[in-house]
Subunit: 337 residues, 2 copies
């Protein structure tokens, strides 16, 4: 018996506290900091755009160890407020002092929805809020709350645009290892768990060689003016095969843009880009689709927070395919938890 | 921002519930089942020893998906009771039915300390309770509780013996990546976190080529007659270098024995054995020790549950070295959380 180490704690907290306690462990921040695609993009967006930051008031929502706040202060911000609910805020405060920014960075430990800022407005909000499948963890709600409460007219969100995209992949080997494994576990029928495994999106790195279709953009989120309800959506998709192959799964990923920069800064979590700690999100189909180059899978994808556990995401996919060598249609439900 | 997926939940539970909720997710059981060193050892200990199991009453403490209960039933047990607190018990019950063992396996969802068994005594207790560093998670307490409450005179514990051992390793590269990383994070001083990183044992796979000393056995635990208090211990160690090298860290691992078997069944989590999901536990030393073949590091290791969070482990190490090319002594405190 062994849980992943970071998911253990014995103190009598609620699970909501527990969620933030998990961010108190430095290991999670280590993984995020070592994701150089992520961190160097923020670094470029902030530090190569001093003209945006000079003498500005900046808010860093969910500042963690304070790295984005430090970037903003170094870029010339007049003052940076970093809000962080988890206990890593203590280290963030120490790091700010150790780097002699205590006069220009203030770390506030608390919930964004509950803390007071010593200023009525901020000019720029920076935040790294993106979860798996973009929306998992629903921290975007908190960023939008901060925007609506404190953002000055004409202020800048960083990032200010995200897109979500879909591709289909060949994945026979991994499907066998992750799903069909349960058919025979040391000689026993564990198919009771196979049903659970099928319903769960898998977060893993997809090899770009497995991608069988062109990418289909599902949705664009304009962080500067979207509302919380926009984070739940139903969108159509159309996936065109770029070669003859078999399709076992659909793969979602997102791209992140900082459009206010002098030169556009952006990064992608596509299987065709350098991998990030977000990896990609894979959902398996019951059917294996035998597809020919140019043939098309159509369908729609729905994503919404689970009603009983809003940090969980419900995802449903309807798809339809009629090809030369196979046809299929179905509707599948998934839950990210 | 992205937590490891399995550590998230929104329901208002206590963290103790949360601990068990984590075991409700099938992914943890998948990892344990796919650890073939672990699972095949239990399979051999049980299914190659039908003479032990025939017509016996068996208790499986923390049965998870029920795999050990199934092994025991297949080996001829009269009845197997599997106790599991987490919600995976529902799947275990379904799996038992799907494999037509519902007449001989009963899955009981609840805490070992609170449930009633329909029998006064059991003949064999099987359990896979071992955590990182053997004692992390302190599930052993629960196994000893079950033994004292239900075990028939002359009954068998499986496993019935564990040993813990220590080696020293060369680990300059990984130390640099995990510890010295914090000295300069994108140009900033994050040494506030370096202090935390030094205090935390690291669970990872150690390459056997890094092992610089002979193994030193720290302690033997006889599960059949030990008490809960034996799980906290202070033991001396003596590490003899098998080559000239540098030493950056000490590595603890454990071996597990089923001595009641016709032919001894055992497995090791040593860096020199095939790796398991327990990997090894690495603690870094402040000093780098320059050691010559035949030179000796002496010291003592103390391990005990943390007083405020008993699922956390406090580990302290005192060491002393006087060699031709360097000498060092120190005391370091670690906490597994």
């Amino acid at each position: 018996m062994t849980l992943p180490k970071s998911s253990l704690s014995q103190a009598e907290h609620t699970a909501a506290d527990y969620y933030f306690d998990s961010y108190a462990h430095f290991g999670i921040h280590e993984e995020m900091l070592k994701d150089t695609v992520r961190t160097r993009s923020y670094q470029a967006a902030i530090m190569q755009n001093e003209f945006l930051f000079k003498d500005k008031i900046v808010l860093d929502v969910g500042c963690g160890t304070g790295i984005l706040s430090l970037f903003a202060a170094k870029a010339g911000a007049k003052h940076v407020y970093g809000i962080e609910r988890s206990a890593i805020a203590e280290q963030a405060r120490q790091i700010v002092e150790d780097n002699r920014y205590q006069d220009r960075i203030t770390i506030i430990q608390g919930k964004v929805e509950e803390v007071d800022l010593p200023v009525p407005q901020v000019d720029i909000i920076i935040s790294e809020w993106m979860g798996y499948f973009l929306m998992y963890e629903s921290m975007l709600d908190t960023v939008l709350y901060a925007r609506d409460k404190w953002m000055a007219p004409g202020g800048i969100m960083m990032p200010d645009r995200c897109t979500m995209s879909l591709v289909a992949i060949e994945d026979a080997d991994y499907r066998h290892e992750k799903i069909d494994f349960w058919d025979n576990v040391y000689g026993f029928d564990f198919s009771a768990i196979k049903r659970l495994a099928m319903q769960e999106p898998l977060v893993d790195v997809v090899d770009q060689e497995q991608v069988v279709t062109e990418a289909c953009k599902l949705s664009t989120f304009n962080i500067s003016d979207m509302t919380k309800s926009d984070a739940a959506f139903t969108v159509p998709f159309r996936l065109v095969a770029s070669r003859n192959d078999y399709i076992h799964a659909l793969v979602a990923y997102f791209d992140v843009y900082f459009t206010a920069c002098h030169k556009l800064v952006w990064f992608s979590t596509s299987p065709k880009s350098r991998s990030t700690h977000w990896k990609q999100t894979v959902v398996y189909l019951e059917d294996t689709i035998t597809i020919c180059q140019g043939e098309v899978i159509t369908g729609q994808l729905t994503c919404s927070p689970n009603k009983s556990n809003p940090r969980d995401l419900d995802i449903s996919i309807e798809y339809s395919f009629k090809g030369k060598n196979s046809s299929a249609q179905g509707r599948q439900e998934y839950r990210m938890r």
